[in-house]
Structure formats: C-alpha cells, structure tokens
Assembly symmetry: C2
Homo-oligomer: 199 residues x 2
Amino acid sequence: MRKPADHRKAEIVAKVLDLADRIGPDRVTTGAVATEIGITQAALFRHFPTKSAMWTAVAEQVSDWLGRAWASALSSGTKPLDRIAALIAAQLHQIAATPAMPMLLFSRELNVDNADLRAAFRDRLSAFHALLLQEITHGQQQGEIRDDVTASDIAVLLISLVQGVAIRWSLGSRNFALQDEGERLLAVQLHLLATKGIR
Amino acid sequence: MRKPADHRKAEIVAKVLDLADRIGPDRVTTGAVATEIGITQAALFRHFPTKSAMWTAVAEQVSDWLGRAWASALSSGTKPLDRIAALIAAQLHQIAATPAMPMLLFSRELNVDNADLRAAFRDRLSAFHALLLQEITHGQQQGEIRDDVTASDIAVLLISLVQGVAIRWSLGSRNFALQDEGERLLAVQLHLLATKGIR
DNA sequence: TGATTAAGTGAGTAACTGATCACTTCAGGG
DNA sequence: CCCTGAAGTGATCAGTTACTCACTTAATCA
C-alpha cells in the first residue's frame, strides 16, 4: 500500500500530533509513529531527514491552523469586544482540537532539542499578542474598554486566562469543556474590563 | 569523600531540581546527576531504590516549600487583599526559585511515568485554589472585593495570571523579572476587582 | 517494452539509560 | 581489635532509540 509523498508526510505529521496527545510529546518515537501508520520505521526517513524535521513540520502545520483561525476570527463582527472574544474563542478551539499543544510548549523537544520549534511557537504567541493589542486599543478608543489600564497589560491578562484554563484542563484530565469554561471566564474578565465609571 | 545518608539524599534531590531546570526534567538521567555530584551512577541506588523514587522525593521537597510559603503568606497582614497579594507573591517567588516547576508540570515523568508525582502536584494546586477562595470570599464579605463576580471565578483568574506570567517568563528565556512582572499584573487585576460602584 | 525512480523493507548499529552485582573501603560499637 | 554494615566503585546487562544501508517493489514514461 504505497502512498504519494505529500499524503504520507501529512499522515506522519498527523500521527505525531496524535501520539503527542496520547502519550506525551517526548514519548513520541519514530518506531511508534511508523507502526501506527502501518509502515516500517526506516520508511519514515524517506520523507523526513531527521526526527527534528518531523517536529518542524508539525510546527508549521499548527502555525498554519492558528493563522487561519485568527484571520477568520478577525473578520467576524465589527465591534472590538466581539473581535476579541472571537480571537480568544478561536484560540480555545484550536487548543481543544490539538490537545497536545499545552504539553508541547513545555516538551523537551521544544525547549531543549529543537530551537526552530521554539522560535516558531514564540513568534506565533507574540503575533497573537499583537493582534489582541490592536483590538484592545481600538476598544479603548471607542470607549468599549476602560482605559485606566494599559492595553498591553490587558492583553497579557487575556492571554494568561487562556493559558491558565488550558493548563487546568490539561492537568485535570480534561474533565470539563475547555471551550465553554474558557468563554465563561472570558465573559467575566471582559465584564471587569468593560465596566466604566470607576468609583 | 563519604557523606551521611540524609545529606546525600538532600544533595541528590537538589541536583535533580538543578538539572531539571538546566536541561529539562525528562533529560535528567541518573548518570548526569551522579557525575555532577561527584559519585558513581550506581551509588545513587544506595539512596533511592529507583529513579521514580528520586522524583517523589523532589515532589515532597517542593510540596514542603510551597506549604511553608503559603503559611507565612497567610500570617502576614490582616486585610484579605493583602493576604491574597502575599499568596500570589509567594507563589511567584517559589516559581522563580524553582524554575523547573512549570516544565515539571508537563514533563513526561509527571504525566506518564509517575502517577504519585502527578497526584502530589494536583493536590497542591487545588489546595492553593482553596486558600485563595477563602480569602476572596472574606474580601467580598468585607466589601474589599466586588461581589458581582463569583469568588471561584476570581480565584481561577488569579491562578491563571500566575501561570500565564510563568509561561511567558519560561518561554521568553526569562528576560524579565518574574516576581516584578507578576506583582505588577496582579496589581492591575486587583484594581479591576476592587473597583466598586459599577455603573 | 524497458529503464528510471520514488517508496518501502529488513537487518542492522552506535549511543544512551536505568538497573544489577560482586567487591572494596571505612567508621563505630561490643 | 575485629566485626558489621553503610557508602561507594567498576564492570556489565538488557532495553530503547534514532538512524543507516543494501536491497526489493511497483508505478511512470520515453
């Protein structure tokens, strides 16, 4: 059962992500990936020169997904608060669909072995920060968001919210719906931020 | 150069934490620990039956530190807001002093290999949540904290703040002071929470 | 048709890791 | 003074992992 190269590559990337979720990023071995796909371990190296290259391909895949999700979030709604909520929701959705992501952020692969992977994720995170910052600033200019707190601090608080919920979801055996819980807390935080007329 | 058993045990635990910080928790090998201490790899197993046991000892050490830090934080100040700030500051201080902790939360060792370790950390996290919850509730009763948001949600927001800052600090090569940045953001969040008289 | 070549195989290898074991060293108590 | 037992050593083992290589298979196309 031979498959054309691009198909196999995509299949490998998907399996790496799947295994990373099920057994942890640093437990993903070339052997496990290969046998689960149904080919020999040696065959993997026909498609990727090294194991690191597989992870780099995974990072590109995830980066691509995130980019698309953000773009579509930004094109929904016109009010800054709505767009912010859409951005956060997209982020939560991506994490739920790629449960290995929180773990991946702290994996040995990313932090020690693969500098490219690390750089890729850092770029993506700061891009998200920039997008949020822009919307928050607009929100403050339009009076939707209180301006007695700097936009950058608000962005960090919102990003932290996502990460905190994701961690709790990840460590807590995923015993609640990440998306729902995240959006509930987001509503709370946005309520705090929208409240104008400080005493 | 022989050392009494307790001293060696403590030395091993400290070295495991040190190495976990420098090269990642899952890269800590018995060989590396031993040679950095200056003994043979085999000698480690005079003090711990398995490698897992070393990690369990590490968890007990960290748990102990956290417990003490929280207790001392709670005994400082009388106003709930002060005590909350002290709790968060203690947490930030512990993370800064034990930089391996965020990574450890997502290590293979904790998530896959060592169920005891996992349980120990989860217990500690929920204990922290409980402490925060209590202080927040007091704060609401005394009118220091707005009560149009549930205490539990506030607790999650504060914990998320810590985790979010820790992640940013960890991924960003620690290019800012975790403690300062964390306390600055905490002040912002507490400002949002303290503001009464919503319109 | 026959040559080319991408995809896959099976059998390896070198390096590393956790753990074991027989043996040595040495301090303290009877 | 010698005996016991804790602490350490050096050699070694079995298992795992990433990666290699000579070789086969099969689809494509000139």
